[in-house]
């Protein structure tokens, strides 16, 4: 890695480096390392060259530079990139025409001065938690290539975790930013549902889809999040809220009350996941346990909604081109398209109930702490994994701790902690969960963990 995003932008502003030279270093790193990692599905070095040269020209003219000037980044391949076909991890999309314009968030990154170097691998149509993609290959974990990167934003997490780029964008329907961030040892932000625009993103489950950034440091994550904020009337779910900047050094207010989620969030956590929560709790001064009693129901509701909406979205293509869909998830998608309407309606009612219960928790606490994954990243090819005596399907279940939270749209920052005492040199993330629209608290708590040396990336 040639520095954090904030370092790079500062050095370019100060004339210590040029954006073009940073891009050259980034390109060399990607070309040297990504053959084994398989995080990129396309590179956009020609475009990146134009963007980097434009930044250098602005500096030479004496113009003020935007906050991410010259910083290389990449996006999950469900974000539209002008001139590139949006794959969403699927072979059935490979013959689609190239996107005419950038996704809204790619346009905002461009406005912030960032330099787009490529598109990143993912589970097909974002339906999975491992980033094992039959068509485009598995993305490997940067800390143990025999293990999965997590998914579905596996390429986004692995590229940052391996130090190929300091920033990336991903999406999170049920945990697809938080699970891979957890496994690859990077920070990831799933904002409040409706905070960031999804215009120009290939959808999966409209009523659950979120988008957000991943980064190696909290400062980089926060500045990127600020650059991405803003209204967008083209996304019906995008909230009519003004930009609420967090800044590069978010501070946790004195007296912030942190509750440790027990119940479901301990039942589905293995020993290492429980240990990272204890470590994070100690650093945050959290001693009080609480329970989100609707977690199981919320997870079930999310499961049903995902199956129904995802299945309905792809039904026509499944009928026409079933054989071209991901073998590991196509039967699940078809099954989802058969869900009776009554189940979906009940799931939405349960969702409302779970949301109301969660809001009551925020009467007592400002932040909630939970593990982001049940255990370390599993080995590539694992069909099942066992947690506390229960053996469950890997691809569908690794998000068991993230799904109840995204179901009700709360903002979460995933922060990577390294348990280590058992000799395994792999991270597991913790979820720092706040009330709606309080991303600032999530990021500030992650910054506390980072400053304490508890949570950090290793690139």
């Amino acid at each position: 890695m040639n520095g954090t995003a904030l370092d790079i932008a500062r050095q370019i502003r100060g004339g210590e480096r040029t954006a073009v030279s940073v891009l050259a270093e980034t390109r060399a790193r990607i070309e040297a390392a990504d053959g084994n990692l398989n995080s990129f599905t396309a590179t956009t070095f020609e475009r990146a060259g134009r963007e980097a040269a434009a930044i250098d020209a602005r500096r030479e003219r004496g113009d003020s530079l935007p906050p991410l000037a010259g910083v290389p980044y990449a996006v999950k391949n469900l974000f539209d990139i002008a001139g590139v076909t949006t794959l969403a991890g699927a072979r059935v999309n490979a013959d689609n025409p190239a996107a005419a314009i950038d996704a809204q968030l790619v346009a905002r990154m461009h406005a912030a001065g960032a330099v787009l170097v490529g598109a990143l691998n993912m589970d097909e149509h974002a339906y999975g938690f491992t980033c094992e993609n039959t068509h485009y290959g598995a993305t490997h974990n940067p800390h143990d290539p025999a293990r999965v990167s997590g998914g579905s934003s596996g390429g986004s997490a692995a590229a940052v975790g391996a130090g190929l780029v300091p920033l990336s964008l991903g999406s999170d329907t049920s945990g697809s930013i938080r699970v891979p961030a957890s496994f690859c040892g990077v920070f990831g932000l799933k904002p409040t549902y409706g905070r960031l625009s999804r215009t120009g993103c290939f959808p999966f489950v409209d009523s659950l889809d979120h988008v957000g950034p991943l980064a190696g440091t909290v400062g980089d994550l926060a500045v990127t999040y600020d650059a991405l904020q803003g209204r967008d009337a083209r996304d019906h779910a995008c909230a009519q809220r003004n930009v609420e900047p967090v800044g590069s050094a978010p501070m946790l207010p004195a007296g912030t009350r942190v509750g440790i989620l027990g119940g479901w969030f301990q039942d589905w956590a293995g020993p290492a996941a429980r240990r990272v929560v204890q470590t994070a709790a100690a650093a945050l001064g959290a001693t009080h346990w609480c329970e989100f009693k609707s977690a199981a129901s919320a997870r079930a509701a999310a499961f049903v909604i995902t199956g129904a909406e995802g299945g309905a979205l792809h039904r026509d293509k499944l009928k026409a081109r079933y054989a071209d869909f991901e073998p590991a998830s196509r039967d699940r998608l078809v099954a989802g398209s058969l869900i009776p309407a009554g189940w979906l309606i009940q799931a939405q009612r349960v969702r409302k109930l779970a949301y109301a219960e969660a809001l009551q928790l925020f009467d007592r606490f400002d932040l909630l702490l939970a593990p982001a994954a049940p255990d370390y990243a599993p080995l590539i090819g694992s069909e099942t994994f066992t947690i506390n005596g229960q053996t469950v399907p890997t691809r569908a279940t690794l998000g068991v701790l993230t799904q109840p939270i995204s179901c009700i749209g709360l903002p979460v920052c995933a922060a990577p902690v390294w348990p280590e005492p058992d000799g395994v040199n792999l991270p597991i993330g913790v979820q720092l969960i706040a009330a709606p629209w309080r991303e600032d608290l999530c990021l500030a708590a992650a910054a506390v963990l980072e400053r304490a040396g508890v949570a950090h990336a290793r690139t």
Binding site: Y193, D331, L353, W437
Partner: protein
């Protein structure tokens, strides 16, 4: 095939047919297995299971709309 899957198989077969899918029998069985897994999870929130926890009236099923539901 598990017993729950066998009981769901007629529904899965009919629903596939109704929606215009055309699959061979072994594929239908695989899809039924996936559907049985969804059903086993859905069952935990369908009446009477959820009503026993939440009371008889859960109210309407809103379309999730954060701008309206989540106040600042």
């Amino acid at each position: 095939m598990t017993e729950p899957t066998e009981s769901l198989l007629p529904y899965v077969r009919a629903a596939l047919d109704l929606q215009g899918y055309a699959f061979p029998e072994e594929r239908i069985v695989e899809i039924a297995l996936q559907f049985a897994r969804i059903e086993s999870i859905a069952r935990t929130i369908l009446p009477p299971a959820i009503n026993a926890q939440a009371g008889p009236d859960l109210g309407p099923a809103p379309v999730f709309c954060p701008g309206a539901v989540i106040s600042p």
